[in-house]
């Protein structure tokens, strides 16, 4: 029953959405709307589940004073400071909720956002270091990749564009047409079509009960 019921729900839900897509909505009523509302509500619960999970995982090391427990404590404190005031009603205090001027907003603008931006910005340093140490023209394919990357990197910035225009005024447009709109698009289409077929196959496997990892079973 534990396995059959979720498979039956998955099969019927999938079938209902396919039916709505194929049939005229007037014939099937607002079934699609109802199902989608259910999905958004369940999506909300998954966020709550995520919070419960992160608290449970980090609570234990703090209680047991395991190695690095201070990091876990900092994470729990951050969750509490950001989450609790954000869910309290604004009518109680303008500091609650997520609007401008709230506790959540202050922490988000002054801590969370700069930290995320810093993490992302550090990629520039790692990419530069990796470019120096790892991008080697060892064979024809690697050389081709390096040359294309160099051309596109130059084309994407004004100084490179200036160099290309100096060589030939139409060169930046030719790169856009033949590299980005030609070779690149051909490869991207293959990837997109492959990924779409994979997604369709996975959906079918879930509907037919072949794919069961979402139930925690293989």
């Amino acid at each position: 029953m534990k396995t059959k019921l979720p498979i039956a729900i998955a099969f019927l839900s999938g079938l209902a959405m396919i039916a709505v897509f194929i049939l005229n909505p007037e014939k099937v009523g607002d079934m699609e709307g109802e199902l989608l509302q259910w999905t958004t509500v369940i999506g909300g619960f998954t966020l709550l589940l995520g919070v419960v999970s992160i608290v449970r995982v980090n609570w234990r090391p703090v209680v047991r004073r395991e190695t690095g427990w201070l990091n876990n404590a900092a994470l729990l404190l951050s969750v509490a400071v950001m989450a609790i005031p954000s869910v309290l009603p604004v009518s109680w205090s303008p500091l609650f909720g997520t609007d401008g001027g709230s506790i959540y907003d202050w922490f988000f603008i002054n801590l969370s956002a700069p930290m995320m931006a810093t993490m992302f910005a550090m990629l520039a340093f790692y990419v530069a270091s990796a470019a120096f140490r790892a991008f080697r023209a060892r064979n024809a394919e690697a050389t081709l990749l390096l040359l294309t990357a160099t051309i596109v990197m130059l084309w994407r910035v004004p100084v490179g564009e200036g160099i290309f225009v100096a060589i030939h005024p139409k060169l930046p447009n030719l790169i856009n047409t033949y590299v980005m709109g030609g070779v690149n698009v051909a490869v991207q289409r293959g990837i997109i079509i492959g990924a779409a077929l994979g997604a369709a196959a996975t959906s079918l496997r879930i509907m037919l009960g072949i794919e069961r990892t979402y139930m925690g079973k293989t």
Partner: protein, 277 residues
């Protein structure tokens, strides 16, 4: 140890220092280099420009704070154009962490600049979980997915939303994103509801979406900070993206320089080893 051996064993801290200088220096001393506009950016601008005044458009804030340097200038550029043309703007986000805050701040800032009234000229729907259901559900009824806006006001009380029930009343969708959500906008909203749309995405994502532009599933595309800078030029509001292009220019040149130096050092030292051994 000869010169090329020294180069091949260069301490990575020198590389980090060079990158830092390449990024900071142009911010202190702007170079103001000339920038060309790609056809994809121009198409996006012209599509919005061709919309009749007072048309309803949707602008999404589907990005995390980590990429605001690339994406936020696109949102600001789009809002300059939309508000200047008196278009009615509906915004939303599929990003729970930061999306609502960025949307709220940007909309308030721009609305104040153009004296736009909330609920009449623009509406911020905020965030709802499960983006696939959200994008699909808004096709039949926006109110069923978003019973209230970002601030808890029921949609029925907002004058703009009394005329907008689903995608049928929205003339154009401008997606600004730093993740794979653009695929869903295309496959769900464009394919199933035939809604015209364009996108502004981060530089690493942009190559993927050229295929959608060619297939006319998207009317235009802004790629990375360059795309944002192009849009700033198109709306004639030069700002952060154009300033940032100088830093990006030097950083790209530096990385290309590192690739060349690394390869020369690698091959020269390998040849020497082979000739000795």
């Amino acid at each position: 140890m000869d010169f090329w051996q020294r180069i091949s064993q260069l301490d990575r801290r020198w590389i980090y220092l060079a990158v830092a200088l390449a990024v900071i220096f142009p911010l202190l001393v702007p170079m103001k280099m000339k920038l060309g506009i790609t056809p994809e950016a121009r198409q996006l601008y012209e599509t919005i420009e061709a919309l009749p005044d007072s048309s309803v458009v949707m602008l999404t804030f589907d990005y995390y704070p980590s990429t605001v340097a690339e994406t936020r200038p696109m949102s600001i550029g789009a809002l300059h154009q939309m508000f200047r043309k008196n278009l009615k703007v509906i915004t939303m986000t599929t990003i729970p962490l930061g999306g609502p805050s960025i949307a709220d701040r940007t909309m308030r800032e721009m609305a104040e600049l153009y004296h736009k009234i909330y609920g009449v000229d623009y509406v911020n729907l905020g965030y709802k979980a499960n983006y696939t259901a959200v994008l699909l559900g808004m096709g039949s009824s926006i109110e069923s997915i978003y019973p209230s806006d970002q601030y808890g006001t029921p949609l029925a009380k907002l004058p703009l939303m009394q005329t907008v029930k689903n995608y049928d009343q929205i003339s154009f969708i401008f997606i600004v994103a730093d993740n794979g959500i653009v695929d869903n906008w295309i496959s769900i909203v464009n394919a199933q509801f035939s809604k015209p749309m364009g996108a502004g995405v981060t530089a690493v994502m942009a190559p993927k979406f050229y295929s959608y532009v060619q297939a006319k599933q998207m009317t235009g595309l802004l790629g990375g900070m360059k795309g944002a800078a192009e849009y700033e030029m198109l709306v004639n509001k030069p700002a952060m993206a154009l300033i940032g292009m100088d830093s990006q220019s030097l950083a790209h040149l530096l990385i290309i320089g590192f690739v060349i130096a690394g390869n020369v050092a690698f091959f020269v030292t390998r040849k020497k080893k082979e000739s000795k051994g």
